[in-house]
Symmetry: C2
């Protein structure tokens, strides 16, 4: 790619640019039937009250440094392509999936992070993938999905990056509509609550969650009900695209 006359000239050259993605997916509870996960953490297998877990696909490194460790999916940035495009491409080539949500996380460029490899500026995105889509995934070569609370040894500074992404998404869910993108067009408040619980990593109080969601005006009832299990059926809701009273949210707020 790059031709240098000598070593001293090379030191002044700009580093390479890569784009990586932290992919956060709501794993379905029966994911083991499709993939090869080591730790199922589903919620509706047998009426238990565990919470759904976020899962991250990682790629096993096949060269030094960090040979055999796991790393975030990514690739070099080609000219003429947007950063989002590069992030989506890295996501799709690893998982054969498309994200419900994609946002830039941070750009990591410290020279010390290459650890003997080529100096690299990594523009990192984070993506959200819902249950429905994650069901279709097939485990590609050198790719494995891990629960966020059971991550393997990670290459470079990728552990810090994942932690940062989790901090970001847990903050963002409080003031944006990203959670509604991970459920279908019609959903019960329990389903929506499960998304929040997966991202927060803890249980939420159902009555308070209901009141909070309805008070924002972001969801509205469809009038239909969904019967699932030996209990009272739940009302279905849809995402109210443009709530009248609440203030608009965009990607820039609270970044």
């Amino acid at each position: 790619m790059r031709i240098s006359a000598n070593v001293s000239e090379r030191a002044k050259e700009p580093p390479n640019i890569g784009v990586s993605v932290v992919i956060l997916a709501l794993g379905p509870s029966d994911m083991d039937a499709h993939g090869s996960l080591s730790a199922p953490a589903g919620a509706d297998a047998s009426g238990n009250d565990t919470i759904p877990t976020l899962r991250i696909p990682l790629v096993c490194r096949i060269r030094q440094p960090f040979l055999g460790d796991w790393a975030l999916p990514g690739g070099d940035l080609q000219g003429g392509r947007s950063l989002e495009f590069a992030a989506e491409q890295a996501l799709h080539s690893t998982t054969s999936l498309h994200p419900q949500y994609l946002e830039q996380l941070y750009t990591f460029g410290d020279p010390s992070r290459s650890h003997g490899g080529l100096p690299m500026v990594s523009i990192v995105y984070w993506a959200l993938i819902g249950e429905t889509e994650a069901k279709d995934f097939h485990e590609a070569q050198n790719v494995r999905w891990f629960p966020v609370n059971q991550l393997p040894p990670l290459a470079f500074d990728h552990k810090d990056i994942i932690d940062y992404a989790l901090t970001r998404v847990r903050n963002k869910i409080e003031y944006s509509d990203i959670a509604t993108r991970l459920v279908g067009s019609e959903f019960t408040l329990s389903q929506l609550r499960n998304v929040y619980e997966a991202i927060y990593g803890r249980k939420l109080d159902p009555p308070n969650f209901r009141r909070r969601m309805l008070s924002t005006g972001m969801v509205e009832p469809t009038g239909e009900k969904l019967a699932r299990g030996a209990h009272r059926p739940a009302s279905l809701y849809r995402y109210a695209a443009h709530p009248g009273t609440s203030k608009p949210q965009n990607a820039t707020a609270r970044q």
Copy 2:
């Protein structure tokens, strides 16, 4: 720098990397005596109740595209240098100043943003500079300071970038200690409130501001007082580095 065999090969090459800075400075009210500002917006000139204004240094472009428009200070990223270093260097070469606070804002890399210039990925930082330091600045060649509410025509997407930086800093000031970095080691609550007012761009209620600041535990009284003007002297406070009860804040939170 980069040697390409032909045009088609060039299209696949990575774009150049630059680092730019949105420099936000608390202009002193008598800044006109030092610089050549068009619109003074000081607060203590004659007992008025205007609020201090944030100012931004911009560089006049001396080539196409956007010849004659104003742009953010910046430069190419050299290998072996951290992104922060490049941002500080761009800041210092433009203003001869060092920032109180420096934080990465966002990386802009859309191919359409070059507008006929060379394709460029811009890693943008934002910096805060306090009154004391801004007093020392000298107006360099092609550099001028503008109040944030009276910006000139800007090159590329730099207007969007500045707006984004203002959104970020106004959010960040709510849950971080960046404001205390813009006052001296000892300060009155009025002085601290002026920093908040400059960043928010609006007046704050003094009693409520006092209560809010003291309740966080981030400031503690020194026991001394400062007499300034025909009124009751104000108590001096210092920044309490590690408040006991409040939760720790770091650069990653709420990004």
